[in-house]
Amino acid sequence: MAKKVDHKVRPLKDYYSDAMVCTYCGFCKSVCPTFRLTKSDARSPRSKVIISWGLLSGEIEPSEGVRDIIYTCTTCMDCSRRCPSQVKALDITMAARRELAELGLIPEAEKTALAHIAKENNPIGEPQEKRTEFVPERDMARVGKGAEVLVYLGCNTAFTEMRITKYLFDIMDRAGVDYTLLGKDEPCCGMLNYLVGLEVKGFAQTMKEKLDTLKPRPTTVVTPCPGCFRSLSQNYSEFVDLGVTVKHTIQFFLELMEKGKLHVKKKLEGKVLYHDPCDLGRHTGIYDEPRKLLSYFTKIEEFQYNKELAHCCGGGGGLMAMNYEMSVGIAKERLLEAIEKGADIVVTACPSCEDSFSAALPEVKSQTGKNLKIIDLTEIIAKYTTA
C-alpha cells in the first residue's frame, strides 16, 4: 500500500521556525547524493536550509548562485528521513524553489522543458500526435473508449521509453485486462513543474476533465512512471479528487499474478538486486510490492542501503537535465554498490532510474570489468510470464 505523504509545497515563510530548529549538525550530508559525490558543502541539504534561512532573513538576495544551490538536488528525500531534528530539508528546498520560480530564477535546462510542456504538453518537445507512436496497432482501438482501467503512460514512457511501453502493452494484453488509453489526449502530469516549484493545479484539473470524458469512467489509473504516480496519487490531492484509485504498474502486475492472470514461464538467472526508486520508495512507501513481484522470478538480494535507506540513482528532481555529469556520477556510485554486493542484474521500476543507470553503465564496466545488467521490472514480467 502506498503511504500518504504530504507533498504540498508551502510558502518559504512557513519554514521560518523549522529553519531555526536545524542545528546544522550535517547528518543530512552523509546521505545526500549530490554532497557524497561532490564533497562540497554548497551542494548539501544543510546548505539548502542555510540558503533558505538567508532568503527568509533577508541576509542574502535571490540570485543565480542561490538558484544553483537550491536546484542541485535529486529530491530523493533521504535528508528529511535522516534528520535527527526532524527538519524536512526537502520541503524547505521545495519552498525555496517555489520562491525562486516565482521570480523566474529557474535553471535554463528546465526552462526549455517547461516551454515544451506549455506548448507541446510534454517536456521532450515532441508533437502531441506522436504520443501514440509506440502504442501497438492492436491496442489503438482502446483509445478514448471507457473501461475500468486507464493506462496512463506519462511523457517519458510515451515518447522515449519504447522498450517499457512495448512490454507494458504485452503484459496487459496477455492478462486480458480491459483497459483504455487517452491517446493523443493524454496530458502531461506536470511533475517537472512541481519539481521546479510551480503550481500544478491546472494539471490536476485537466487530468480530472480527461477522466470525465471517458464513458464509463475508469475507476483505476495505472501508470508505469513513479513520477506520474506521485503526481496523480499525491500531488493532485491538494487541488482535486480524481475519483480513481491510482496504482503503479508494479502494484497492478502483482495483483494480476496473485489473481492467476499471469503465470511464471521461467526464472531469472544470476544475482539480482532491487533498486528502490525514490519516488516509489521514500516518497510513496512502496517497498513490499516490487519485492513480492520479483520474488516470483528470482531470489532477491538487497543493496546494503535499501528500502527507506536506499541511495538515489541521480536521475530525480530535474537534476539530469540541469547537470547530466552529476546525475551519471551518482548513478555510477549506486551501481558500484551493486557490484560490491556481487550483483549480475539490477532491477528497478522507474524509467528515470533505468535512464541514469544505463548512462553510467559504460563507465562502471570500464572501471570494474563487470557486465552488470539493468532491467526494468516490467520487462521481466513481459519476458518471464505466460497467460
Binding site: C25, S40, G65, V66, I69
Partner: protein
C-alpha cells in the same frame, strides 16, 4: 552577521584582491567567491555566522602549501574547515578571510593492521574510516556523536571523542604522526608510524586541539585497535541525579571500566519518551552502561556493575545482550537532541555551554549545581553526557529571536562554567574552544595562556591562521556574530 568589512577592529587582509586573483588562477572552479556559496560556509554547527571572503577547496598538500604561501604574502586570514560540525565556532571566519574546505582530501591512504596504524587525509569522514577498518577487524574507537558527518582532520583539530573515552581515550591518544602545513607554508612531518616514540618534542600532540591556529593538517596517522567482539548494555534508574552520578564513580572504584556510561536527567528522559517513545522509566536520572570485549569478560564486568549499581541505591537495574533492546535505548539517548528541539515551538536548542569535563567523582555535585543555576535563571538546561569520563553536555533552550533570552543564556553559561571550575573541571571535554568558550577557557588556563600565545607567535607571526579564536578572542563575553535574528551586544 558580520561581513569582512574591516569593522571588527581586527587587522584585515592587506591585499585581499591580489590573493583572490591568484587563488582563482590556482584552483579554478574549486575557488568560490559568489555570495550564495560563501553564505553556505559562513557557519558551522555553532551559534555564529560570519561571511568568509572566499572558499578554497584544495585536493592535495601541494595546493595547501601554495594557498598558505599566498596568504602569507597577502596577509589574509585562513580558516581550515572539515565537516563543519563543530559546536563552538572554530570553523567560522569571524574576521573574514578564506575558508579552506578540506573535504575533498578524503583518501584512506594506508591501513596496516599488522602494525596497528592507518594513514588518512584530513577530509575522511569518521564513519567512512570505521567502515574501511571493519573488514580488517579493527577500529578507531573514539566514537564522536557526529561520526557520520565529522572529518578526521576536524577531530584532530579539536581533540574530539565520544561516549567510549573512558576505555578508549580521545583522538590525541591515537595520533601517531601528522603532516602539517605551517603558517609559513613549510611542510612539517611530525611523529612516526611507531607506537612508541621518545624522539624529542612530540609536536604531533601539540597540533591536536590547536583548532587550525597553528597550521593546516594534511595527513594523519592514527593508531587503531581491535574491534570488540561483543557487548552488553544495562539500564540503571535512580531517584536522584546525585545518586546516578555517584554510581558512576562507585563502578569505576570497584574497579570496573565499562566502555561507556551515559547519564540522562529527568528533562532528557521526559523529552526522549515524549518525542521518541523511548519507553524510559519516569525517574530523576538514569545511566545506560555498556561493557564490551570477549563475551565472558563482558558478562563478568556486567555482573560487577550490577552489584555496584544495586548497592548504590538504584531503583532498578536491567541488562541485555540483545542488540534490539540496546539499540532502542541507544535511539532513546540519541533522540534527546531532536526531542528537545521540539519541546516548545518558540524554544530552540542553542549550542552554548555544550561541553565540559569534571573529575568523575564530582559528577553528582556538578549536575546538582547545574540544576540550581537553571532554576535561578529560569531557563531550561537539559543535562546528559558521557558520565563515565566526566564529560557532560548541557543544552540550553531559548527563544533565539529575543535578545533578552540571549543575555539570560550568557549569564547561565557564565555561572555553569564558574561551577565547573570550582569543581575542578575544564570548559571543554571534546568539542574544543572556538569562540563560545573562549572567555571561560582563558580564565581556566590563565597561567598557560602566555605560553600558548608564545607558541602561536613563533609559528604564526602574522596571525593568519584562524585569528580570533581561543585565546585570541578579544571580547569579555561570547556574543559574537549570531546566526539567529537577534542583535545582542
Amino acid at each position: 552577521m558580520v561581513f569582512s568589512d574591516g569593522q571588527s577592529g581586527y587587522p584585515m587582509a592587506k591585499d585581499l584582491e591580489g590573493m583572490l586573483k591568484e587563488l582563482q588562477k590556482l584552483l579554478g572552479d574549486r575557488f568560490l567567491t559568489g555570495e550564495a556559496d560563501r553564505y553556505c560556509y559562513a557557519t558551522d554547527s555553532s551559534i555564529y555566522r560570519s561571511m568568509p571572503d572566499a572558499v578554497a577547496i584544495p585536493i592535495n598538500t601541494e595546493e595547501v602549501v601554495k594557498i598558505v604561501k599566498l596568504a602569507n604574502k597577502y596577509e589574509v586570514p585562513l580558516v581550515p574547515r572539515g565537516g563543519g560540525t563543530g559546536l563552538c565556532g572554530a570553523a567560522v571566519a569571524i574576521h573574514g578571510g578564506i575558508i579552506i574546505d578540506m573535504q575533498k582530501m578524503a583518501k584512506i591512504k594506508e591501513v596496516h593492521p599488522e602494525s596497528l596504524y592507518c594513514t588518512v587525509e584530513p577530509g575522511v569522514v569518521y564513519d567512512d574510516l570505521i567502515r574501511a577498518l571493519k573488514p580488517h577487524g579493527f577500529t578507531f574507537p573514539t566514537a564522536p556523536g557526529s561520526g557520520e558527518a565529522c572529518t578526521i582532520g576536524g577531530m584532530v583539530a579539536l581533540n574530539a571523542s565520544g561516549m567510549r573515552a573512558i576505555k578508549y581515550g580521545a583522538t590525541r591518544d591515537y595520533v601517531l604522526a601528522l603532516e602539517v602545513v605551517l603558517p609559513s607554508g613549510e611542510v612539517c612531518r611530525c611523529g612516526t608510524h611507531t607506537l612508541k616514540n621518545s624522539s624529542g618534542y612530540q609536536l604531533e600532540k601539540l597540533f591536536v586541539g590547536s583548532e587550525g591556529t597553528l597550521g593546516i593538517i594534511t595527513e594523519i596517522t592514527l593508531k587503531i585497535v581491535i574491534l570488540p567482539k561483543s557487548r552488553a548494555v544495562a539500564l540503571a534508574t535512580f531517584d536522584s541525579m546525585e545518586k546516578a552520578g555517584q554510581t558512576v564513580s562507585n563502578i569505576i572504584a570497584k574497579p570496573v571500566i565499562p566502555s561507556s556510561m551515559e547519564l540522562m536527567d529527568h528533562t532528557c528522559i521526559e523529552v526522549a519518551n515524549k518525542g521518541a517513545n523511548a519507553g524510559f522509566p519516569d525517574v530523576a536520572g538514569l545511566l545506560i552502561i555498556e561493557c564490551d570485549g570477549e563475551i565472558e569478560g563482558v558478562r563478568r564486568e556486567m555482573k560487577s556493575v550490577e552489584e555496584v549499581v544495586r548497592k548504590s541505591g538504584a531503583l532498578n537495574f536491567e541488562s541485555t545482550e540483545d542488540p534490539k533492546v540496546f539499540n532502542r535505548w541507544h535511539d532513546g539517548r540519541q533522540s534527546i537532541l531532536p526531542a528537545l528541539g521540539r519541546l516548545k515551538p518558540e524554544l530552540k536548542i542553542v549550542s552554548l555551554a555544550d561541553d565540559m569535563a569534571i573529575p568523575i567523582a564530582n559528577i553528582g555535585k556538578t549536575v546538582m549545581a547545574f540544576d540550581k543555576i537553571a532554576k535561578k535563571n529560569n531557563i531550561i538546561v537539559a543535562t546528559y553526557g558521557h558520565a563515565s569520563d566526566g564529560n557532560l553536555h548541557t543544552k540550553l533552550l531559548i527563544d533565539p529571536t529575543k535578545p533578552e533570552d540571549w543575555k539570560r543564556a550568557e549569564r547561565t553559561v557564565e555561572e555553569i562554567y564558574k561551577a565547573v571550575l570550582e569543581l575542578d573541571g575544564t570548559v571543554s571535554g571534546e568539542h574544543g574552544i572556538g569562540v563560545s568558550k573562549a572567555p571561560y577557557f582563558m580564565n581556566e588556563r590563565r597561567s598557560a595562556i602566555g605560553v600558548m600565545k608564545a607558541i602561536k607567535r613563533a609559528l604564526d607571526p602574522k596571525n593568519i591562521m584562524n585569528p580570533g579564536k581561543m585565546f585570541d578572542w578579544e571580547k569579555k563575553g561570547i556574543m559574537g556574530p549570531l546566526r539567529y535574528p537577534a542583535e545582542v551586544e
